[in-house]
Amino acid sequence: MGINGQNRLTLLNPSSDNLVLKFAGDWKLKGHLPSIKDVEGRIKVDSNIKRLGFDTKEIGAWDSALLIFLTKLNKLCLEKNIKVELYGLPIGVVKLLKLATAVPKRKDDSHGESRKQFITDIGLWIIEYFNATLQTINFIGEVFLAFVNLILGKARFRKTDFITVIQECGVQALPIVTLISLLMGMILAFVGSIQLKMFGAEIFVANLVGLGMAREMGAMMTAIIMAGRTGAAFSAQLGSMHVNDEIDALRTMGISPMEALVLPRMLALTLMMPLLCIYANFIGIIGGAIVAITSLDISLIQYFEQSRNNLGLIDFIAGLIKSVVFGVIVATSGCLRGMQCGKSSTDVGNTTTSAVVTGIVYIVVSDAILTMIYSIIGF
């Protein structure tokens, strides 16, 4: 037994057509894998070699390092048509080598094609994009049918589910909506006051904050909060239900997941969003008032008088319409991504991310469109 820790390999040439590898020391997975370069070099130079034998009398401990070395060697010898004589090896090594070669390598290379053509990539990408679009349209259609069933009184879902979702996306969202819209109102007031001070028109901070919150920021900020909070929760819930076969269980019970899961969520969020929006508007105005009173020498009465005179019902309605649209968008993107989720836990994570991103992108896009429409029709 070799006591020396370092692995050593000696090439012996007992006869001109025979090469014997003499192993000594420990052949273990410490540091790097032993290289077959020496043997390869020798075989290339000496074309007489037709047989390869092993001498392992002096080998110490060994593990996969030796086996990988031998597997590589075996492959090389197969290419060069050299006969490998295994009997010089420890019996355990021979057995493991046999085990490793017992099942031939998978020939079907349809999986994991590493080298795809650029054009193929583009083609596949287009097909994927096309399918995703079809899925989205399909989903919207199914949601629509579920709503029709709801109106006809045929939709099947649990009332308690609906109430739970209402609670989740209504009352439970109040603290964060309060915080964000209060700060939003204060930020608007601060930014505006710096400019308005130059004209001595500080009182118009009330108009700025009021209009900004009512027409734009109230709806927008609640929508973004809800996309991150509720949209993500929807898609994660539905996604993990997918992973656990719970959605299939609904289907095979004849209950449409669209009605039982998607419908209550869409309804609840679409109903709660405008309420949250109104709430956010008022909290935002209060935020503006705090700044006006503390740093602009405007009294509370003055501020509210100014707000009341310059804010019409129409401004609030403009914001409310937006918030309903945003509610539909957040609920749709959350549920859509959740229903598209694959069957692994990674998919649930990706799904959630995608739900939030889709939600926010479409919120901003639709906000731009709505604002444009408003300005065209003079709303």
Partner: protein
């Protein structure tokens, strides 16, 4: 081929995922009240076949008949009537995690019957006691063990007294005693409810214990290579793959 006592018929079924064929030329029929086993090695498409049988996936060609009705050709109302008679037990139990066990079992009853709340409650307690889970009504699925989840899943599957029960690997992940208990339960349900049972499994003990008839799917040739009573197949099958499978590789062929 369709006879009066035939419950489910599969004709020339071909199953695909995308472009790759999973299984083709599948032909068999299941008689009313029979325990039918779908067996085969891992990855041969057993569970895929089950997904087709319970109407979750549309066959790429061929047909599946329930009685005389083709699931994919009838109108939505008839489709619902077919599905209403299904009971499915999924591999993981697939209980709805936001509901308690009682709510899980009650849900199909609430949707399909006009029973009063307290009547439903009685039925739920009874079904849960059938699977040995009485007293667990108010537990959530995450609070009980995997074996219990499976039994609760069974209670939900039999909530509406279905005509045909599907089981996906019922004994996977169960200890031998629980697996045996589940098998006994399946036998009793069949005998007392008169339901047809279709089981996807590779658990030899269950296959021989409860299987009346079976079909063997082969991953390599992508089709079925044997059909019949599993005990008879063990004795008489000439196919080395089948006899190897049924004898745990001891047939030596």
């Amino acid at each position: 081929m369709t006879r009066a006592d035939t419950h489910l018929t599969v004709n020339n079924l071909e199953m695909r995922y995308g472009y790759s064929v999973i299984q083709k030329d599948i032909n068999f029929f299941v008689k009313r009240g029979e325990i039918f086993v779908v067996m085969g090695g891992s990855g041969c498409g057993k569970s895929t076949l089950l997904r087709h049988l319970i109407g979750l996936k549309k066959p790429s060609s061929g047909e599946i008949l329930y009685g005389n009705d083709n699931f994919w050709k009838v109108n939505p109302l008839e489709k619902e009537a077919i599905i209403r008679n299904f009971g499915v037990l999924y591999q993981s139990g697939a209980l709805w995690s936001s509901m308690t066990l009682a709510e899980n079992v009650a849900f199909p009853l609430e949707q399909y019957t006009k029973l009063e709340t307290n009547e439903i409650k009685d039925i739920v307690s009874f079904k849960l006691s059938l699977v040995g889970l009485s007293g667990f009504e108010e537990f959530y699925p995450s609070e009980i063990s995997g074996g219990m989840q499976k039994r609760a899943g069974l209670a939900r599957a039999i909530a509406l007294d279905p005509d045909i029960l599907f089981f996906d690997e019922p004994s996977a992940g169960l200890d031998p005693v629980s697996a045996k208990r589940l098998d006994d339960l399946i036998l009793e349900l069949r005998d007392s409810l008169g339901a047809t049972v279709i089981i996807v499994t590779h658990e030899l003990a269950s296959i021989f214990d409860i299987g009346d008839n079976s079909v063997f799917l082969d991953a390599e040739s992508k089709t079925m290579i044997a059909m019949g009573n599993p005990r008879t197949l063990l004795k008489e099958s000439r196919d080395p793959k089948v006899s190897n499978f049924l004898s745990r590789g001891k047939s030596g062929k």
